[in-house]
């Protein structure tokens, strides 16, 4: 691996000598650096001083390494790097010092500004302003006159006035620079900014040039197999330090801290609110104190598991990183320096960083609760076992599917009604909305805007308000009940008769949901090119045929995923059921004490878990509902635009 190769032994000796000399050199360099630093002009700006020190170091290094360039790649690397610094740094420093001098000059000038002249200018400026304002007014008046005569349009007048105003402003600003004080102030401000930005850009260029050198000159090491990665994989950060990537190592050390100070202690039960980390998942606070709650033990256990998973990910990442750097070094590729790592991170690491907040929110607000629910469905949490409950296996599921016990028989009845409701209510809304869209889009219908605005209303009025109001109007003394009674002489008992409640609910959802479908199909209908219809007319198609073969397929195809979404929405439409009649009417003989005859699964779950605290069974039904809904919406999503046009 040693450069040259032929005279191995003599090279070896020389190399050793080089190492020795280098050590000595670096030691003296350190002392010289201090000396040089003290000898520097104290009045120089901080940045310039720092760069000057860098320049000094580069000069010294260049001289020292020059003799060893042929011997070792490291020497060559140091030499090239120093040369680059010597080449580029002087300009940067010069620039800073130069501009700083300019600022100092300006500051001196500022002191010498003649106040009487300034006062004089102020007066002059005021006069100037007045004069131009008067001019502006005059011009405006002229324009108004022109407008009155009708020679220009209103828009032209407004435009002209805006232009005049702009011109006026510019003139004032221009004039204000005639003031010495103002010019001086601006100059200082601008120059300061210029120094900052220029130095930043110059250093960036310098850094990327240095990175180029790093890539060009190989590195030589004696080991042939990566070891550090395997030895340090338990401690992210240490491995990076071994690879001399100190800043990166520091960041990974934070990950280490997270793993050993937060995740693992938490998983073992330290620092928990009540629980015992992962162990709490098994014990569920059994035999614990009276205030210990099984549910809290469960949730903390789940959080602990997520923390552990996160830790494993971090360990894996760090391990991979160290391993890659080591392997590269063996191949002769120099490890990235901090500048390169930073650039890499901002390019390749961006998506990970960008998704981090979303990930955290999703883990804590979605994944942890959902996992809790899934686990709850295997426990016997019910009114008698609120604070302490235990694992009972698949008993809950068995009860539901076999139709036994408290929830089982009601489950199937409710499921049946839920399916009927979903199909009928959604289809009705789709039917009404689509027909209305067709009718309104007829060319000969006038007043389209009015119809569209009216048909939008059921969607725009917050649903809970309409539902509650319909609920009031359909109660025995309500407006609609009385109206029906007056016209047809029918006694309505919507709130107490199961069939009537169900029909009312379906109709109400038709009323509420049609708006959305109407808007949707209107959008699609308007986008259908008219030549399709013209062509079909040429071929002698009837209206029905046009509808059947052109309109329907296009509308259905384009809105399919959204229509699926509507079915899913109604499957879980809690508000309409709960707010309309509280799930009633209640028939204890058939539905037990918990559910009413118009309850959907979702409102049944609500009643089980929130109102009656049968969380175990409720969770089992929730899992069932979620799986069903996921399947259906997966079908809908698969054909959606965002997913199909995936660029991967």
């Amino acid at each position: 691996m040693i450069k040259g190769g032929s005279e191995l032994i003599s090279n070896d000796i020389e190399l050793k000598k080089f190492k020795f000399e280098e050590k000595k050199f670096l030691k003296t360099l350190k002392a010289n650096k201090k000396k040089f630093k003290n000898s520097l002009d104290k009045t120089l700006p901080y940045k310039a001083k720092k760069l000057k020190v860098d320049l000094f170091l580069a000069q010294e290094k260049s001289q020292f390494y020059k003799d060893y360039v042929a011997l070792s790649y490291d020497a060559e690397f140091e030499y090239e790097q120093s040369n680059l610094l010597m080449e580029e740094l002087p300009d940067i420093i010069h620039n800073i010092i130069d501009r700083t001098l300019d600022i100092e000059k300006a500051l001196i000038e500022k002191k010498n500004i003649d106040p009487s002249r300034e006062r004089k200018f102020k007066k002059e400026f005021k006069e100037f302003k007045k004069e131009h304002k008067a001019f502006l007014k005059e011009e405006k008046r002229k324009l108004r006159e022109k407008r009155r005569k009708g020679s220009i349009s209103k828009k032209a007048q407004v435009n002209e006035i805006n232009i005049l105003k702009q011109k006026y402003k510019e003139k004032i600003i221009l004039k204000s620079y005639e003031s010495q004080r103002k010019t001086n102030k601006e100059f200082i401000k601008n120059t300061r900014h210029e120094i900052k930005e220029n130095t930043k850009i110059n250093l960036k260029i310098l850094n990327s040039n240095m990175a180029d050198i790093r890539r060009k000159i190989p590195i030589e090491v004696e080991k042939t197999k990566p070891k550090v990665a395997y030895f340090t994989f338990l401690f992210p950060g240490i491995g990076q330090m071994f690879n001399k990537q100190y800043k990166k190592g520091f960041i990974f050390l934070l990950a280490s801290l997270f793993i050993y100070l937060i995740a693992i202690p938490y998983a073992l039960g330290f620092g928990n609110y009540q629980g015992e980390g992962i162990r709490g998942l098994i014990t569920l606070a059994e035999g614990g104190r009276r205030i210990d709650k099984s549910l809290i033990f469960m949730i903390e256990g789940i959080i602990a598991i997520f923390l552990v998973i996160l830790s494993l990910f971090l360990l894996y990442f760090s391990f991979k990183d160290v391993l890659k750097v080591e392997k590269d070094t063996i191949k002769g590729v120099r490890p990235n320096n901090w500048f390169e790592t930073k650039t890499y991170l901002s390019e390749e690491g961006f998506p990970y960083v960008a998704n981090l907040p979303a990930l955290i929110v999703i883990i804590f607000m979605v994944l942890v609760p959902v996992t809790t629910t899934i686990l709850l469905s295997f426990t016997g949490m019910d009114p008698q076992h609120q604070s302490k409950f235990s694992w009972i296996g698949i008993k809950n599921y068995k009860m539901i599917f076999l139709g036994e016990g408290l929830a089982g028989s009601v489950f199937w009845l409710t499921l049946g009604w839920t399916l009927v409701w979903t199909l009928l209510a959604t289809s009705l809304a789709i039917f009404i909305g689509f027909i209305l869209a067709l009718l309104v889009n007829n060319d000969r219908v006038k007043g389209k805007t009015i119809f569209r605005t009216i048909y939008l209303l059921p969607w725009a009025v917050p649903a809970f308000i309409s539902i509650m109001f319909f609920s009031i109007m359909l109660s025995p003394n309500g407006a609609i009940s009385q109206l029906v009674n007056n016209i047809w002489g029918l006694e309505m008992s919507v709130k107490t008769n199961t069939t009537q409640t169900r029909i009312a609910l379906i109709l109400l959802q038709g009323w509420l949901g049609s708006s959305y479908i109407f808007l949707l199909s209107t959008g699609v209908l308007q986008a259908i090119p008219s030549d399709l219809y013209e062509a079909s007319e040429m071929d002698g198609a009837t209206t029905w045929q046009k509808l059947r073969h052109i309109t329907l397929p296009i509308v259905l195809f384009q809105t399919a995923p959204l229509l699926v979404g509507q079915y899913v929405f109604n499957f879980n439409n809690f508000s309409i059921i709960y707010l309309f009649n509280g799930g009633g009417p209640f028939e204890p003989s058939k539905y037990g004490n918990l559910a009413g005859s118009s309850d959907l699964l979702i409102s049944y779950i609500y009643k089980l878990t929130i109102e009656n605290q049968y969380q175990g069974i409720g969770a089992a039904i929730t899992v069932f509902v979620s799986i069903a809904v996921m399947l259906v919406s997966f079908l809908g999503y698969r054909s959606s635009k965002a997913f199909k046009e995936e660029r991967l």
Binding site: Y273, L295, I299, S346, E348, F350, A354, N355, P357, A358, V361, I362, F364, M365, L367, P369, V370, L376, I432, L436, L439, R444, V445, F451, T453, I454, L456, L457, A460, P462, A463, I465, M468, F469, F470, I472, M473, N477, G478, W511, G523, L562, G565, F569, N572, F574, S575, I602, T609, T622, V625, S626, M630, S633, F634, Y637, K641, A642, E645, E646
Partner: protein, 297 residues
Amino acid sequence: MKLLRKKEKLYLSDKRPLSITGKILLVITYIILISWAIAILWPLFQMVLSAFNGKQEQYLMLNDQFTFSLKHFEYLFNNTLFLQWTKNTILIALATAVLTLLIVSLTGYAYSRYRFKGKKISLMAMMLIQAIPTFAGITAYFTMYSVISSINPGFTRQMMLVLIYTGGGIANNTFILKGYIDSISTELDDAAKIDGCSNLQVYRLIIMPIARPMLALIALWSFIGPFMDYLLPKVLLTSPETYTLAAGLFTLINDVRTLNQPAFAAGGLLTAIPVVILFIALQKELVSGLAEGSVKG
């Protein structure tokens, strides 16, 4: 003038003149359209009417007696916490909208413009996650809240609600925004990057202005969500002072102690008007946003 009149009589339309059946059909069309319009307007009109009807007490009655009065509104403002509810709802809605926008901007941009490991899998996972009803975690939310609030007493139930709404919307909104950003040409990004823009600058200076309509829509939807939702506030918020409008107004028709149906109508009217105006003003954008995105439950 003569010329003009003559012109009017000419049949100028490029459509065929209507046959008799066509005319009958047109009339039927109008009848259907108008009757549906009535079916929509009548209940809403009833609500407006009962909100202003001074003849009504506690219960809503449909009768011909009507005297204009603002007493239900007075009741609403003086005897209920309507203003407090409105304030709560707006705060929750605003916080949700801002937080959603911040998070989704980043994810939508990252998913649209970058390749990274696990992109497809996480997209799939997100898709499935968003199908789970928010409701599924409700038991856990309750306990989680009690744990967090005992550690940090400053954490209110409303903040919890904001986080839940935001968490529930991330997946869906990411999808919608990703779809929209996909349609923006990447040449613009490349040009900006060559000029030295960083990733965030590309987003802020190039993508954001172009995607503004969709961002506005996402913000709007996240803002309206808390106005429409009843379930979560009902479960999570326990005291009337912290209620949102939906939960608060429901006490006016559900709770015997505070029952006052006309006041509910008045409150409903006040809530509905701004939302309706918003919807009517933005209907075009809303509809195009619907068609643009994917499933919106």
